[in-house]
Symmetry: C2
Subunit: 101 residues, 2 copies
Amino acid sequence: MTDCFAVIFTSTRTEGDNGYAEAAERMAELVSEQPGFLGVESVRGADGVGITVSYWQSEAAILAWRQNPEHQVIQARGRLEWYSAFHTRVCRVEREYRFGQ
Amino acid sequence: MTDCFAVIFTSTRTEGDNGYAEAAERMAELVSEQPGFLGVESVRGADGVGITVSYWQSEAAILAWRQNPEHQVIQARGRLEWYSAFHTRVCRVEREYRFGQ
């Protein structure tokens, strides 16, 4: 998966679900259908801090996902309802190492 | 923090502590003294899967940390004792967005 792109999304959730779980499930389904989507890894701790890393074939694929109309509605709800803060970093994967699995 | 590098370390822990917590604490201290180290974000879920992202000024700084003698001992113990699998990706941060905080 070298020569790909990673989007690191670090976020802090607000209290309560407020429709988050359902939207997260729908976004997981929708993103998996996006051209150029390679995979996603996501962990959230008990303190509400989460890191999600998604992997993409190109920057154009990342931009297309960012501009997907259904995703844009969800992004707006994220800012209003689900996150107190987040930080998105678009990165180029330069090299990688693997152990196990 | 654009124009920096990110190391995405995705790992699965083995069962039990086996000295992991103490080593993690020592590594957090040691890495914070490394030239070119910018910060770290780390989350582990209840299922043992964790994502740690560290940020660096340069690839040379990442290499120096990888080759730090005390860190190398810990890397070897990681493969033997603490992780059933891990995946390390060295990335160049191309752009970033922020909300809140």
